[in-house]
């Protein structure tokens, strides 16, 4: 539904872009004789040497959109990829439509709109050729950036037509003809990341690399206790410390009226600013809610799980009666911790405030959100805020929240006319994140006398206020096996927290896949079957279950296909398969993924030997070389969540973890062999940044059970769990 809305909005936006085209024309027309690049629409310029510059509209966080989205335009424009240059657009959704790197939605929301952008420009070029040659447009063909008239053997490069084409009215994007899939020469063909050569040679690309004359640097001391306020700090550092320029007390960002205080130190070097933090000697008042701890949350959750749920999420059939009449029941409690994002490029942003206007160079996944929050915090009209999108050294959902943009905007406003680059150090980055919320589940399943799953109950304990889960702490009422078996009862209870929470790659799914696919593996064992077969039975015949709210429809046939595929790849159930083998399936972000993991365990240490992945993201894998990279990265990321020891703990209202020694990320020695296959189904392509991650976690813990007989019901996995 949301995707549909975005698509409609986007088309309207492209038409608007067509309107601005007319305004642009006075300039290109005047310059046309001199051969200046001709502007065909907001995304496409064609230069006299037939070099085509295509605008990349979305933030690049490593998911490959800076390459993939322009591929869609280039395909329908009918040019060779070698003649294409990519240029990052500025942030302006009125021109470019939604510019968000989130929810793996760049592919489904742009698949048709950006192809139409290319096709509309192609139609204008063909029309220009038809005029020039005095022939019908329908007699012309295109290819490699040229228009051809087969009957006369004539051809002309786009560059010679572009100045005229730019004066033509843009066609209705919804009515332009698109290529048949069989004619694709770019979509489905591997294209190297457009920035790869620059990355490899160390060119400045990232937000943190922004530099400009007269720039000063800011370090930031944020109240360590969430919700705390500034009590005092040393004054006059700019007089007592060489290199320090100013100290700027500020409100810590994202929620402009929020209570999280901070003090920025501005200096002529970031090193100097960061070193001055000790001398700043900031003191803080605790939050009004008191000093909370994760230990306290765990105790409260354990008690709450035993009470009736505070609210119902989903009910079908009669779970009480079904469980009472069940031949066998299975119960277990699952839990998972708060997690930080740990993007390798720490939070940073550069800003210049001049005469009531502000310009930002922002590594952000959601620039328009940053614009809104800065407008509110600084009391500026949205039009006074110009946002440049830099390449981003990792997103994973952290940069959907723009606290760091608001912070640097506040600092820049205090130093008008001077560009300011603010950088978090690693400890700031880990201790001032928006964390994947912890959660707990008490599950009970009932089997009938034939071993069929007939009933499932879950009491989910999460965080929230006034009966509403906080950000990323919700559970979908449609969580399978809801709607797939007869008797289901999902209830939810919410604890209060001061922890700021947010979306972490495959949000909610990364936790729900672990919980439900691990528990269903227990159910399968009790039913004397295995998880792939249990899933096949639960999924039943191929059909489409309707979506609801932000949930897309769920196609059980597509689920069956990836389950069958991965089982065939791994030789699931065949004689001689390794003992430590586990399976997981999950549907998220419109992608269907089934995975098999082989492990071995020695002295409580898990070694992942091999992972097989079968995924269905539609009828085309747009850029295969990147698609495989995304899947492999997702798999290792998911394994790291479970195995590397990741958890964020709160003590006395503040986060304990401080760097990669106590919030460890997966390293190269934990890298398994990974075999990936895509099942092509007759559906429009969807995104790949997230959906391969969730199923690897249950596949891993199910493999651990197969190898050791020990059930992992809480993350992260520790050696003690497996040796006790």
């Amino acid at each position: 539904m949301q995707a549909e809305l975005d698509r409609r909005f986007f088309l309207k936006a492209t038409l608007l872009a067509g309107g601005t085209l007319a305004l642009d024309l006075s300039v290109p027309l005047a310059r046309a004789a001199g051969g200046a690049p001709a502007v065909l629409n907001a995304f496409i310029r064609i230069a006299p040497d037939n070099i085509v510059t295509i605008g990349a509209k979305n933030p690049e966080i490593g998911q490959g959109v800076r390459t993939m989205l322009p591929m869609l335009i280039a395909e329908e424009l009918d040019v060779d990829w070698a003649q294409v240059r990519i240029e990052q657009t500025i942030a302006d959704q009125k021109i470019y439509g939604p510019q968000v790197a989130g929810g793996s939605r760049s592919t489904p929301t742009n698949w048709l709109p950006l192809r139409r952008v290319g096709a509309a420009a192609r139609a204008m070029l063909v029309e220009a050729a038809a005029h020039q040659w005095g022939v019908e447009a329908s007699t012309l063909t295109t290819g490699s950036g040229k228009v051809f008239h087969k009957a006369s053997g004539r051809s002309i490069p786009y560059a010679e037509l572009a100045p005229t084409a730019a004066t033509l009215p843009a066609p209705d994007p919804e009515k332009v003809a698109l290529k048949p899939d069989t004619a694709f020469t770019i979509i489905g063909h591997s294209k190297m990341g457009v920035d790869t050569p620059a990355i490899v040679s160390g060119k400045p690309l990232f937000g943190i690399d922004t530099t400009m004359p007269g720039m000063v640097y800011a370090a930031i001391e944020i109240c360590p206790m969430f919700g705390g306020t500034l009590k005092s700090h040393a004054q006059g550092l700019e007089k007592s410390m060489a290199g320090v320029i100013a100290t700027v007390p500020l409100n810590s960002g994202y929620d402009p009226k929020g209570p999280a205080d901070a003090v920025a130190i501005v200096a002529n070097s970031w090193w100097t600013a960061n070193q001055a933090r000790e001398a700043l000697a900031a003191e803080w008042n605790p939050p009004a809610q008191g000093l909370q701890s994760t230990e306290g949350y765990e105790k409260a959750a354990a008690m709450t799980l035993e009470q009736p749920p505070q609210q119902s999420l989903f009910q079908s059939g009669d779970v009480d009666a079904a469980l009472k009449g069940a031949a066998k029941t299975i119960s277990a409690t699952y839990g998972y911790p708060f997690l930080a994002h740990g993007t390798l490029e720490p939070m940073n942003c550069t800003a210049l405030y001049t005469d009531g206007k502000i310009e930002l160079w922002a590594p952000t996944q959601r620039p328009e959100g940053g614009r809104d929050e800065i407008a509110e915090a600084l009391g500026l009209p949205r039009e006074a805020i110009l946002i440049h999108m830099t390449r981003i050294g990792g997103g994973f959902g952290r940069r959907l929240l723009n606290d760091y943009m608001v912070q640097v905007a506040q600092i820049a406003k205090a130093l008008p006319g001077r560009p300011v680059k603010m950088i978090y150090n690693r400890t700031d980055d880990i201790r001032h994140d928006f964390y994947r919320p912890a959660g707990w589940h008490k599950l009970t399943a009932g089997l009938d006398d034939k071993g069929r799953l007939i009933a499932l109950r879950d009491h989910f304990v999460s965080f929230g206020t006034d009966g509403r889960p906080i950000r990323a702490a919700e559970m979908s009422p449609q969580e399978p096996p809801a709607r797939l078996i007869d008797h289901v009862d999902y209830g939810m209870s919410l604890l209060e927290t001061t922890m700021p929470t947010g979306w972490l790659r495959a949000p909610t799914s990364n936790a729900m896949a672990f919980t439900f696919q691990s528990f269903l593996d227990e159910v399968a064992a009790a039913a004397k079957t295995d998880l792939p077969d249990l899933m096949r039975t639960i999924l039943g015949e191929a059909r489409k279950l309707p979506g609801e709210g932000r949930n897309p429809p769920f196609d059980t046939g597509r689920a069956h296909a990836v389950i069958d595929k991965v089982c065939a790849m791994a030789g699931w159930g065949k004689a001689g398969a390794p003992k430590g083998r586990g399976f997981g399936f999950y549907f998220s972000h419109m992608g269907y993924f089934a995975e098999v993991v082989d492990i071995s365990v020695t002295d409580g240490i898990v070694k992942v030997d091999k992972v097989w992945v079968a995924g269905d993201v539609g009828r085309h894998v747009i850029n295969p070389i990147n698609a495989v990279n995304q899947v492999e990265g997702s798999v290792i990321d998911g394994l790291g969540q479970a195995l590397a020891g990741q958890k964020i703990e709160l003590v006395d209202g503040a986060v304990v973890q401080s760097n990669f020694h106590d919030f460890p990320l997966q390293r190269i020695d934990a890298r398994p062999a990974i075999e990936t296959a895509f099942v092509l189904s007759d559906n429009d392509p969807t995104g790949l940044g997230e959906p391969a991650l969730p199923p690897v976690i249950p596949a891993l813990v199910n493999a651990i059970f197969a190898a050791t007989g020990k059930r992992v019901r809480s993350l992260p996995i520790t050696t003690d769990m497996l040796t006790a």
Binding site: G62, G202, W270, L344, G393, F396, G633, N659, Q666, I668
Partner: protein, 160 residues
């Protein structure tokens, strides 16, 4: 105070406090932002440079200790045969995702091949274990090192 450094074959004079790490000297004073800040504690490897041919974490090297040493950064790594081979295989296999860690990965990989032209998988993993890739491009990092070393590693298709 002023320090004379030898960076990428060029003498450079920098004015800084003696404890300023080479990382920040490169990024702020010498306008060479290819070397990246990741953790500031020698834990992630994003800031790896070569000091007298050895891979070192520049966030842990005060400028005063860099004097008299030969320093090579990502901007100049392709000037040696090993660095060139590594850079080319990184491009051929399209290793990066976000790309932020890759300068450090390339510096560590180049130092490895300079010392050990035919590393085993275990030697690759040992030499590269100090470099974190948050996007987890490890499969391709290993393949790219094998390819640069001339060890057959056809695990990933070439980019078109």
């Amino acid at each position: 105070m002023a320090y004379d450094l030898m960076i990428n074959g060029q003498p450079r004079r920098v004015s800084a406090t003696e404890d300023k790490p080479l990382l920040w000297v490169l990024r702020e004073d010498l306008d060479m932002p290819g070397t990246k800040f990741g953790c500031g504690a020698g834990l992630c490897g994003a800031c790896t440079v070569h000091v007298d041919g050895m891979a070192m974490r520049s966030c842990q090297l005060p400028i005063a200790e860099a004097v008299g040493k030969t320093i090579t950064t990502i901007e100049h790594v392709a000037s040696t045969p090993q660095g060139k081979a590594i850079s080319e295989s990184w491009v051929a296999l399209d290793v990066p995702q976000c790309g932020y860690c890759q300068a450090g990965q390339i510096m560590s990989a180049t130092a490895l091949l300079s010392e050990n032209p035919q590393p085993s998988d275990e030697e690759i993993e040992s030499a590269m274990s100090g470099n974190i890739c948050r996007c987890a491009t490890y499969t391709r990092i290993r393949s790219a090192i094998r390819q640069a070393a001339g060890i057959d590693a056809k695990e990933v298709r070439h980019a078109g």
